[in-house]
Subunit: 178 residues, 2 copies
């Protein structure tokens, strides 16, 4: 996309040593609390979603819910949610992803997406790409198409590109170091 959304950076708070020493956390709460910043981020995501002709949103727990739901309302697509194990009440499928130590899982309801739907997967930030890859795998297992992946923040110093190189990924802003 030709547009630049670098202006979004000034709405994002950098919190040192969270969640542990040496990690710099990019805090999007200050972005969402600002109507101008929040709308600008959604404008960028909406433009990408329309270009990819997405007709369903899958939002990733839990900060992805914030952007995914607002985007679904703009696009009138409906929004499904990918959640941590045990949170979804109906029949689910699940996919594993790697953590720094060990693994975790995400779940999706069996009826979260329908055959042939063009799904935009939405999260706040892409770091290792593990959770997004797990969600994309579930979307495809349910016979829908991953039309694109949209996030506000790209942590370009982390190795998500290899994992997601099959997909069209759009991030609005990039941080290239911690």
């Amino acid at each position: 996309m030709a547009e630049t959304y670098d202006e979004l950076k000034r709405y994002i708070r950098s919190v040192p040593d969270f969640p542990k020493p040496g990690i710099n956390f990019y805090d999007i709460t200050t972005l969402m609390q600002d109507p101008v910043g929040f709308a600008l981020a959604l404008d960028g995501m909406e433009k990408f979603a329309r270009a990819k002709e997405a007709n369903k949103i899958v939002a990733v727990e839990s900060r992805g819910f914030l952007f995914g739901a607002a985007l679904a309302d703009r696009l009138k697509t409906g929004v499904a949610i990918a959640r941590k194990p045990g949170k979804l009440p109906y029949r689910t499928i699940s996919a594993e992803y790697a953590l720094e130590y060990g693994t975790d899982r995400l779940e999706l309801h069996e009826d979260a997406v329908k055959t042939g739907e063009r799904v935009l997967i939405v999260d706040d930030l892409i770091a290792t790409g593990g959770t997004i890859e797990a969600v994309a795998g579930m979307v495809e297992k349910l016979n829908a198409t991953v039309a694109g992946i949209s996030a506000v923040i790209d942590l370009s110093f982390l190795p998500w590109r290899e994992k997601l190189n099959r997909f069209e990924v759009n991030c609005l802003i990039t941080f290239d170091s911690e």
Copy 2:
């Protein structure tokens, strides 16, 4: 409100014995996945928010994020988030609420709301009212006003009314038994 949103009930899936035997879970994922249902729920919340002249949304983790963020985008208010302990990276205040056995806490960033803001607290469902009461207390501690409380579902057979009787509460639909 004079309008009836009873039509929303047909978008909500009832899942027996979740999260444990004997409990009937009202599943809003089927509502959110339907563009018509999701828009109708947001229409109802938006009407209440405008009537109460809310100029800030506080959304409760994590299903409240879905409705609260979309509503904030419609109203152009910005949205703050009340989260489980340890999730918010910046300086927080917290409040305790009762569980069936024991207690839990919710946190809010110190700068989540500003003095004098008129806050609409948004969640998907009101059951015991404990989490909402905790969030309302934090909003007031930060010198903002609770303009109203908005949820899709009222579980009227649970005793939330006493806890929240100081506040204007609007739920779109009521279930009077499990």
